[in-house]
Point group: C2
Chain length 144, copies 2
DNA sequence: ATAAAAACGCAACAGAGTTGCACTAAATAA
DNA sequence: TTATTTAGTGCAACTCTGTTGCGTTTTTAT
């Protein structure tokens, strides 16, 4: 059993339709290793130790990962998308924590969304998103 | 009792500290008349029938209105802020409806946020935001 | 009416994301 | 294995949203 039979990222990519390219594998691996949702910029930073990946390619790769359900996209308060690897399944009715100090976004566990909200006539709900704003652990300790 | 003793917008502005300028009064009036949260662009459009207001001034005016608690800012999915007049009070623990078709954002009524969410160690919640994504009435009828 | 300060308007800039198009490299066929 | 097809990549240029600096105009207080 060799060290890298095929990385988890590669396996996930192969299971989707589309080609298994190094960009996809590197990006997905970065997301899988991340402990929180990353911006385009953060991903680029983590990647470029292994050679620079073109900005546009990264954007397109992220789009592809989202389309395939391998990653999901969260909108922060700073008008920058953040991405993280999703379990693979589409089911992510989970909450997000957005730190108002440093802007970081963390995924929280499943939420039992048992709230009765009255929608206006004709409106159809597809997806409920819950985000909690506050201060993350690091920022809380850093004072300020 | 004349037609416009002083508009509601003017009254709200006068009650805040800061100057009562035509830009502020026009922008706030536009927000008060709107049936949903408006983007910078939409506000500009509604305004320029009465003479063009500088882009930067509009941005600064909106910031000021938000600071004063006269308006509040909602982040959409399209990385554009949306604004609407808030009742004046700061208290807006209400939900938003975001149409995935046309991108419009509507404010929904108060939400009884009775969900127990376990935050990671050291994280502090300040504010809970709930958004429901789906299709608005207009888009639902337009088919597609 | 006048002076001080707050707003305004312009120009230039910054960051995030997109589009078009030629080139490269996976996957497939031969 | 090599050739072929076409998805994916990289570059340049662009759009859109929002911001900064700075000189000029309005408010407001005197």
């Amino acid at each position: 059993m060799p060290d890298t039979p095929t990385s988890p990222a590669d396996q996930m990519i192969r299971a989707s339709r589309g080609r298994n390219t190094s960009a996809r594998s590197r990006v997905l691996a970065a997301l899988l290793n991340a402990e929180r949702a990353l911006t385009h910029q953060e991903i680029a930073q983590r990647l470029d130790s292994q050679g620079i990946l073109d900005r546009v390619t990264l954007y397109r790769t992220l789009d592809w990962l989202v389309d395939q359900g391998l990653a999901h996209r969260v909108s922060g308060e700073d008008r920058a998308w953040r991405f993280n690897a999703s379990g693979g399944a589409e089911a992510h009715e989970h909450a997000h924590f957005k730190c108002t100090q440093c802007g970081q976004v963390f995924c929280l566990g499943e939420v039992s969304t048992a709230f009765a909200i009255q929608l206006p006539r004709g409106f159809q709900s597809r997806h409920i998103e819950l985000s909690i704003k506050g201060v993350c652990n690091a920022c809380a300790h850093r004072g300020q």
